[in-house]
Amino acid sequence: MKPVLHRRNVVQTLLGDRGNLLVVAGLGSTAWDITAAGDSPLSFPTWGAMGQAAMIGLGLALAQPRRRVLVVTGDGEMLMGLGALATIGVQRPGNLSVVVIDNERYGETGMQATHTAHGIDMAAVARACGFKHCSVVKTKAAVAKLRSAIRGRPGPVFAQVKVVAEKLPLVLPPHDGVLLKERFRAALA
């Protein structure tokens, strides 16, 4: 089945009326996606450190146990740090969700196929690592359910959202790392 979901719509739905949600994005397309949904001081889009988005989310979730933390990252970024799923599985923070926007491509480098294009099932990996709620999301109805899960369901939550491989206009967040860090801490304080 060909994907029907569009990444910007998915991320817009997940982040809409975000309330207290703390958001971390992996480098590249997912950083542009969360910015297209509306920049916020409580978003930390990365411009590097590939493979670490989920771990930044874990650190944040442990530091802020009363807030919900959402990591939005790409399939290539998650694949580079797959061990993080095992590490999160040991800690099992109930307030953490990891959502992989899976277009089965390395979008920033020429749309080369990632491992997920060959059937690698990351949701199954997350399930095996002890994530409480895991899903492969392919429909709008499932996106709506995921939106509820990241806001209230005891986690950790993992979702692999299959999206159309498409090149979209860049919507860039600030790239000054100190600014991104300080505005986040100031907004939380």
Binding site: W47, A49, M55, I56, Q64, G81, G83, T87, L188
Partner: protein
């Protein structure tokens, strides 16, 4: 013992998250941190994860520390770029391999390169050559609120063979 002194300094500094990849030289300190209810000990699959963990914890207003051996420094080079660009405070306690008494030649290249690699990526290097130097250097590292690695010389740890390591 230096691990007990270091543990007291971590508590004094208000450390609440301890990321680690086990090393025989860190055995005691890991045990102390794991049994301290004020601290969340996070076992990592690779040292690289520790940098993400520290960054996330700091964003959330929490101080953390990373424990690793020198081979792990090789695993974190690229992600130290984020530490530098965002100016995340970072304290790493690195037990050295490939030095005096090393029994495994495969540990030597990374051990020899560890200080240069850290400095090349903007991390200040502090060397503890004796056991009583470790805790004061860790305390100072937390006061700086910068990226600092405290290297614990292999002579302080003193493991010389697989046999001794197993018996520890």
């Amino acid at each position: 013992m230096w691990p007990d002194q270091v543990h007291r300094e971590l508590a004094t500094a208000g450390v609440r998250v301890v990321g680690y990849v086990p090393d025989a030289g860190h055995k005691r300190l890991i045990e102390l941190c794991r049994s301290d209810k004020r601290m969340r000990a996070v076992v990592l699959t690779t040292e690289e994860e520790g940098i993400g963990l520290v960054a996330g914890a700091w964003l959330g207003g929490v101080k953390s520390v990373l424990l690793m051996q020198s081979s792990g420094v090789g695993n974190i080079i690229n992600v130290l770029g984020m530490v530098q660009v965002c100016r995340f405070p970072l304290v790493m306690i690195v037990t050295m391999r490939g030095e005096q008494g090393e029994f495994n030649p495969w540990q030597v290249p990374m051990g020899r390169s560890t200080p240069q690699v850290l400095e090349a990526m903007g991390v200040a290097v502090r060397r503890a050559s004796s056991a009583d130097e470790v805790a004061p250097l860790v305390a100072e590292a937390f006061r700086r609120e910068q990226a600092v690695a405290v290297l614990v010389s292999q002579s302080v740890i003193g493991i010389k063979s697989f046999q001794e390591q197993t018996e520890q």
